[in-house]
Symmetry: C2
Subunit: 122 residues, 2 copies
């Protein structure tokens, strides 16, 4: 593998393994809120989503806005209510991109002795 090839196949990894996205999904309460939102399959208000968790509404509000900053959900305000929707397309695209990048960077068979040294890692 030439340096050019290596750089082409491995560069995306660092961008895709974005800690911010995973951090957004790493909290149990947020995970539950997101699951609720996913299963609902439509735009839900903050209060609606809050019903699936035994936490204060202010906590729900903060979690949802954090999920939005991470690009997992989108919000739209109509009047005094805020509706949240899962950004399905973005989420699916990202998950698949990670899988693709890892596969492209790392073939199924392990090379012996770290002979590859892709991207100058190591």
């Amino acid at each position: 593998m030439t340096p050019v090839q290596a750089s082409a196949c491995c560069r995306p990894i660092d961008d895709l393994l974005d800690p911010e996205l995973f951090k957004a999904l790493s909290d149990p309460t947020r995970s539950r809120l997101l699951g609720c939102l996913v299963k609902c399959g439509c735009a839900c208000t903050v209060s609606d989503v809050g019903e699936c968790c035994a936490v204060d509404l202010s906590v729900v509000s903060r979690h949802l806005s954090l999920l939005e900053r991470a690009g997992v959900v989108q919000s739209s305000k109509t009047g005094r209510t805020v509706h949240y929707v899962v950004d399905y397309a973005h989420l699916c695209r990202t998950m698949r991109a990670i899988a693709d990048a890892i596969e492209q960077c790392c073939p199924a068979e392990q090379l012996p002795g770290c002979a590859r040294g892709c991207c100058g890692a190591r």
Copy 2:
């Protein structure tokens, strides 16, 4: 959508949105260590992986064992050295499974008025 269909398409979501996995990927140092391991493309010792980060070796050790508990990497001990490898297959499978589950649970078009009520979630 019948309850049976809903339950079939949505049940996997809760399991797949496992906070433990995402927590493992949510720390910048761990992300970097994993990226290093991915790009290396072969089994690396703890010391080797540690060279890509300016943290104490004990920190590297802890991070790698955490990644292993999360199912992201696998370790094998030979003598006094421990080799870590990325569990590419598992990682890719999980990422794609999440994308698949979300897509199956939630069609591209939003249903109006929360008429769906999939899985009893609001």
